[in-house]
């Protein structure tokens, strides 16, 4: 495995972990108004994600930083190309962060209702936009010969040579993402709460998993038409087929866990489903970072976008140290706050 390949794997993994972790925060947000009806229930839900959401979000910032470090060309092309969508993401992340941080500051019911609504809407939008973004990466973007592009929000709604951010395929991916993350959020709440929130969350996940299956089949069926390179990549490196197989099998264990009432097993399986599902797509896209919809020679790959070997090498050294620390913190914080929220003597807000 070359350095470029290793960094491709690291960045794919960091973004996939981000989706699996912050994904349940978005899902909880999108579900929030439905599963938590009273102020007490809503405070409970906020406490369930309170100690961990900020750490989850750092995976995104770190993923961006690592992409900047390892593949500056792809970073600059993607971030400037998705200018409008990313600003929307940022505004949602700002409001989401404030909603979680500020809702319990005041006793005023109007104040709390306002932040509750903002938390729900931003959670939904973020889940949607990240799914759409993934759809764009799979479909490809209109990269020019200089390695830049600019994607309008919409053009013809078709995944053709000059696509917008939104077309039928990326919207399908967005909806799939919303469904997956809402079930993910519900699974998380099922492990973290008792009582009415738990019951509503499990009922929601029960139905939601079939929506995911339906949308998932539709999206998977569309993949080879929208992006033939994905298919060719798997044919060229059939070993990777193990990834979608794992994704499918953890879907089964999630289903089994749900039937036998093992909330934790469901949550872990579903997290793995998100993680491995994303890695399956990354395997199919490899070695492309950004696929050009026009001339394939314009695609940004690990070969034409990587930073210098020294930078990648020294980056790997400190990344190993840093990631070890990150895993230690993350494990500590998740185990410290493990268990049902009702039974933890959590300070609600400072």
């Amino acid at each position: 495995m070359s350095l470029d390949e290793l960094w491709f794997a690291i960045i794919a993994l960091v973004f996939a972990v981000y989706a699996a972790l912050d994904g349940f925060d978005f899902g909880v947000g999108a579900l929030y108004l439905f599963v938590a009806r009273t102020d007490e229930e809503r405070r409970l839900v906020m406490k369930a994600i309170g100690p961990v959401w900020k750490g989850n979000e750092v995976w995104l910032v770190s993923g961006g930083g690592l992409l900047f470090l390892a593949f500056p060309k792809a970073f600059s092309a993607a971030f400037s190309g998705f200018y409008l969508a990313l600003n929307l993401v940022l505004w949602c992340l700002i409001m989401r962060g404030l909603a979680i941080g500020l809702r319990s500051h005041l006793e005023n019911p109007l104040w709390r209702s306002l932040w509750d609504a903002i938390f729900a809407v931003t959670g939904f939008l973020l889940a949607l936009v990240f799914g759409v973004a993934l759809g764009n990466l799979v479909r490809g973007v209109p990269l020019g010969p200089d390695g830049y592009f600019f994607a309008a929000f919409w053009t013809t709604f078709l995944p053709d040579d000059s696509p917008g951010i939104l077309d039928w395929f990326t919207v399908l991916m967005g909806l799939l993402s919303v469904a997956i993350l809402m079930v993910h959020g519900a699974n998380y709440l099922a492990t973290k709460t008792d009582g009415p929130v738990n019951i509503r969350a499990r009922r929601f996940a029960e139905i939601g998993q079939w929506v995911v299956l339906l949308l998932g089949i539709a999206a998977t069926a569309a993949l080879p038409f929208v992006q033939p390179a994905l298919w060719e990549s798997y044919v060229a490196h059939p070993f990777g087929t193990v990834l979608p197989l794992i994704a499918a099998s953890v879907l089964l264990t999630a289903w089994y866990g749900r039937r036998s009432g093992r909330n934790f097993m469901v949550f872990v399986s579903w997290s793995l489903f998100i993680l491995v599902g994303l890695l399956s797509l990354a395997w199919g896209l490899f070695p492309n970072l950004l696929i050009a919809t026009g001339d394939p020679a314009h695609s940004l790959t690990i070969l034409n976008s990587a930073a210098s070997p020294y930078g990648l090498q020294i980056g790997l050294v400190w990344f190993t140290v840093g990631m070890t620390l990150v895993i230690a913190y993350t494990t500590w914080v998740y185990t410290s706050f493990a268990g049902k929220v009702e039974q933890l003597p959590l300070e609600e807000h400072y």
């Binding site: 100690p51 961006g64 930083g65 900047f68 404030l98 913190y329």
Partner: protein, 467 residues
């Protein structure tokens, strides 16, 4: 000069948007970094000397810290994204170097901060006093480490080191150690972090002064004042010397045009005057209504009254900062305010040492009203550093006009700029509202409820703040 900045161009809006978002963002981390140091002091004193007043003070300031931190985090994410979104050519050019420091900030500082912030906000009833003390230490380390990586990034843009230029024109790091020990970092970091403690000290002293003037929370107010005034007296002095002095020296050594521009020094002369006040006249290239200290500029920079200082007119005009008059003002505002802070804090310290501060209402009024000024000084300071770097984005290597995104048009940048202006106006008001709300709620009393022992106090206090 001024004519070169074309209003309505994407470049103009790109610059304005970065200026707006970075300036607004930095209002928050300067308070969190400053308070992190002060809270660590309060908490250490509480923990190691079992002083319940200090624990109460630490608790109150942790609320403010958490508030400021929350706003700092949400306004910080757009900055990293903007490198790619608005400055794509710069990112492609410099990613091989500054990608290192920015990614390190994520892994080494942000994860540390967010983990321990979670513990701090939610775990006060779950962890031992030692872990809670450790949490304040870790938040101090995390936030100061974050500052370090940002300064390392900025220092490279001011004074590029440890790089090689590739055939395709982009730069790559040749030594991570060299990048992290860029000599530029030393004084810039010291100056910036000291300034953060100045902000923290003034805010802490101001809240103490407000309580004392209102006759409420008297015990807590005295602790705030003592801590704020002592820390403020030390750090305001350190701002001028050695940190500010050496930061200026390295500008004159490595960026002489910037130095001449911010001093308003147009013509090369031996025995250059130090301009205290006056308005740069860009047509005659002189200072209108000058108020100067004769020959002081030469003395400060070269320790010799007759030394020659190069003026702006010795350099080609297209290398002058295209922000010249504004740069001159931001620098003078920074230095002017920084110089006023010293006697304010020194007087308060003398009164404190003589035991008269708490009765000296005029001094308490002064301290209370001074709270906004450190923010203005730090903002002006960053503007001096960044406006003075123009027309370069990376000093001597890449011009700002060559760094922005080629395909993001002015209409799109103005769209998001307006969005940020609206959003930030809203959340700025929100912060002020919540800040004053927290201050007016006050450090509700551990002392009042009466605690039999230190340990009992620590566990009990969780209950009275629960809402």
């Amino acid at each position: 000069m001024d004519e070169a900045v074309i209003i309505n161009s994407a470049l103009f809006y790109d610059r304005l948007q970065f200026a707006v978002t970075a300036t607004f963002h930095y209002l928050f981390p300067q308070l969190t970094m400053g308070l992190a140091a002060l809270i660590l002091y309060l908490k250490s004193r509480a923990y190691w000397f079992r002083d319940v007043h200090y624990d109460q003070a630490a608790h109150f300031w942790t609320k403010i810290f958490a508030l400021s931190f929350a706003f700092g985090v949400v306004t910080g994410i757009p900055l990293e994204f903007q490198f790619g979104m608005n400055w794509a050519k710069f990112s492609r050019f410099a990613g091989g170097v500054i990608g290192q420091t920015l990614a390190m900030e994520g892994l080494f500082a942000f994860f540390l901060e967010s983990t321990f912030l979670g513990i701090l906000l939610y775990g006060r009833k779950m962890f031992t006093p030692f872990v809670l003390w450790l949490t304040t230490l870790m938040l101090f380390i995390g936030s100061w480490l974050s500052g370090y990586f940002i300064i390392a990034t900025n220092a490279w843009m001011q004074h590029p080191v440890a790089y090689v230029v590739d055939p395709d024109g982009s730069v790559h790091v040749t030594s991570l150690w060299g990048l992290l020990t860029n000599p530029w970092i030393v004084w810039q970091y010291a100056h910036t972090m000291t300034a953060a403690v100045v902000t923290g000290s003034f805010v802490m002293a101001a809240v103490g002064a407000y309580y004392l003037l209102s006759g409420i929370h008297v015990e807590a107010a005295k602790t705030f004042l003592k801590t704020g005034v002592v820390a403020g007296a030390i750090t305001t002095s350190l701002m001028l010397f050695p940190t500010g002095h050496h930061a200026a020296l390295q500008v004159f050594e490595h960026q002489p045009i910037k130095g001449a521009a911010f001093e308003g020094h147009f013509h090369t002369e031996a025995g250059a005057d130090l301009v205290l006040m006056g308005q740069p006249n860009m047509d005659t290239l002189t200072i209108d209504n000058p108020l100067v200290l004769p020959k002081m500029l030469s003395f400060i920079i070269h320790k010799h009254f007759g030394a020659e200082i190069k003026g702006l007119t010795d350099f080609p005009r297209d290398e002058w900062p295209d922000t010249m008059p504004l740069l001159y003002y931001t620098y003078h505002i920074m230095v002017g305010l920084g110089t006023i802070f010293i006697p304010v804090m020194a007087t308060a310290l003398v009164l404190l040492l003589r035991g008269r501060l708490f009765e000296a209402r005029w001094m308490l009024w002064t301290l209370m009203l001074f709270a906004p000024f450190p923010y203005i000084a730090t903002t002006a300071g960053w503007m001096t550093a960044e406006l003075g770097r123009q027309p370069w984005l990376v000093y001597g290597l890449l011009q700002t006009a060559e760094g922005n995104s080629p395909l993001v048009g002015s209409g799109n940048v103005l769209f998001t700029l307006l969005g940020y202006l609206g959003l930030y106006l809203l959340i700025g008001l929100l912060f002020l509202f919540l800040f004053f709300e927290t201050v007016s709620r006050g450090p509700s009393g551990v002392g009042a409820s009466g605690t039999s022992s230190w340990k009992a106090g620590l566990h009990e206090e969780g209950t009275y703040v629960a809402r």
